[in-house]
Amino acid sequence: MNILAIETTGAAASVALINEKGEVSVEISDQKMNHLQNLMPMIDILLKKRELSIDDIGCVAVSEGPGSFTGIRIGVASARAIAQALEIKTIGAPTLKSFLYHANDYKGIICPIFDARRNQVYSGAYQWIRDEHPGKSKNESPCRKEVQASYRELVIGDAYDLPQLLEKLKTILLKESNVSTALEITFFGDGIISYKEQIIDWQNASLNDNIRVLFANDKIRLQNASSVARLALEYYRQGRMKSLYDLKPVYMRKAEAERKLEEKS
């Protein structure tokens, strides 16, 4: 069983394949915002590299958003059409949550921020939960490692005004820093470009010295289909596949015209 994962919510499109063993291969576009043109050729290249055909795909996953509205639609439309033609199920992978798989072994808080303009970001905060009592279950059942990965969602993925997000993070970080001695938060996403300085100011003004604020380096900063594929595999193991008709884009924001119309009335 192979899952095809599509990521078109950011500037660079990527596609990935993952099998049930969790082996991933990925193809990343070197062009920006040219998703419609490049997506199918990239899928073709990826399949050929793995010596597979599209008919070997058992499930198609897509990074469902948030992100570029146009990008989300290219991904969802393509995933749905592939599923419709192959008569297979789909998986909608929350884009923000996929960043957990950018940093599998990371103990700190993972916080993707996407520039949503109007001084807003699409963001959420996540953290892997490690087994704190290794003696308890480690050798009892060797299958345990295969059981679903566990993480917590500290800030629910949504559109936030930046100060509102930072306030939420501050509350969480200050609470957590009493429990653990050294606490880290790493920001990901294209929002770093616009908001890095504001975040550093916030750190200096509101956080304790034992909280470290980091920014992911360029190589792992942005959306990537390999993380989407890993998250999709987790969903697959949990049986969270859905019909293509239930695969919906997650914009997290109304269309501008709709918002203005509602404001008027």
Partner: protein, 338 residues
């Protein structure tokens, strides 16, 4: 294949109709499903691109399913896929394109990008089995106003087009200022039936002598100026008279230039297509003129005048038979020339 005939799946999402159709060979329509978004955009007084894109994505897969079901085939029976690649709203176009590209890849079938205007012209073939090029075509809609010399199924020469607003766009704008609502075409057509077309003399813009181009932004301003003058005078506005006078001014220009073009190219057949080709006055005037001047006139029934996928499937099949096939790099071309 069905009875040894090619099956084309056509897809159209260039503006505010999500449509899918199944076509047998070039001209036989097995299904033509259209999900209109008119009601959605009425609240905004016109098509909002972002909202149109969102609705296309919601509608596209069920619309394709309905088209297949109505034609009593499955996707596996499809021999080629035709899709509008431009011109149009880029966010709307890409829903159809992403869908068509993915399906063509999975099904390993040819993919054909179709120019929207070629689609409108092809709509006429569907109902007039005897019609063959060459002929002269007037394509007139909310987004286009072009006079095209159709020399062969895939050979076109644009002789003239609008330099500013499309005729249908002028209808939408005038309908809005007259308080008639959206979409303007059918509403003005209806109001005009109850009005005097000679009540107001709006200027007919013919541009330079011999030009086959159009300009409709002036007449829209003309209507606005007339409304303001009436208001200043404290005179009651007769909406029906204004609509009728505006409509006549537009249709006179369209009809006159089309006839001139047909004479110049020595064509004996004239085709009118596109959303505005559903206008009752344009049809009547063209009929009268063609009869008087000895041209054969062809136009589609109203459902094939609006944006629909049957015309795209028809055009795609003609392109395919001429070997005009696209590859997986097919993109959206929002401002593509014919």
């Amino acid at each position: 294949m069905k009875d040894n005939k090619l099956i084309t799946l056509g897809i159209e999402t260039s503006c505010d109709e999500t449509s899918a159709a199944v076509i047998l060979e070039e001209r036989e329509v097995l299904s033509n499903v259209i999900a209109s978004q008119i009601k959605v955009h009425q609240a905004f007084g016109g098509v909002v691109p972002e909202i149109a894109s969102r609705h296309h994505l919601n509608n596209i897969n069920p619309v394709i399913d309905s088209a297949l079901k109505e034609a009593d085939i499955t996707l596996r029976d499809v021999d080629l896929i035709g899709v509008t690649s431009g011109p149009g709203l880029v966010g709307a176009l890409l829903i159809g394109l992403a869908t068509a590209k993915s399906m063509a890849y999975v099904l390993k079938k040819p993919l054909i990008g179709v120019h929207h205007i070629q689609g409108h012209i092809s709509a006429v073939y569907i109902e007039h089995k005897e019609l063959e090029p060459p002929f002269l075509a007037l394509v007139v809609s909310g987004g286009h106003t072009s006079i095209v010399d159709v020399t062969d199924y895939n050979k076109y020469e644009v002789l003239g087009h609008t330099r500013d607003d499309a005729a249908g766009e002028a209808f939408d704008k005038v309908a809005r200022v007259l308080g008639l609502g959206y979409p303007g075409g059918p509403l003005i057509d209806e109001a005009a039936k109850k009005g005097n077309p000679h009540a107001v003399e709006f200027k007919r813009v013919f541009l330079e002598k011999d030009s086959l181009d159009f300009s409709f932004s002036g007449i829209k301003t003309g209507v606005l100026n007339y409304l303001n003058t009436q208001k200043l005078k404290g005179a009651q506005l007769n909406v029906n008279d204004t609509a009728a006078s505006f409509q006549l001014a537009v249709m006179e220009v369209l009809t006159a230039k089309t006839i001139v073009a047909a004479k110049r190219t020595k064509r004996d057949k004239i085709v009118i297509a596109g959303g505005v080709a559903a206008n009752s006055l344009l049809r009547q005037m063209m009929k009268d003129e063609c009869e008087r001047k000895g041209f054969d006139l062809y136009f589609p029934s109203p459902i094939l005048c609006t944006d629909n996928a049957a015309m795209i499937g028809c055009a795609a099949c003609y392109k395919y038979k001429s070997g005009l096939v696209d590859n997986l790099f097919l993109d959206a071309y929002p401002n593509k020339a014919l």
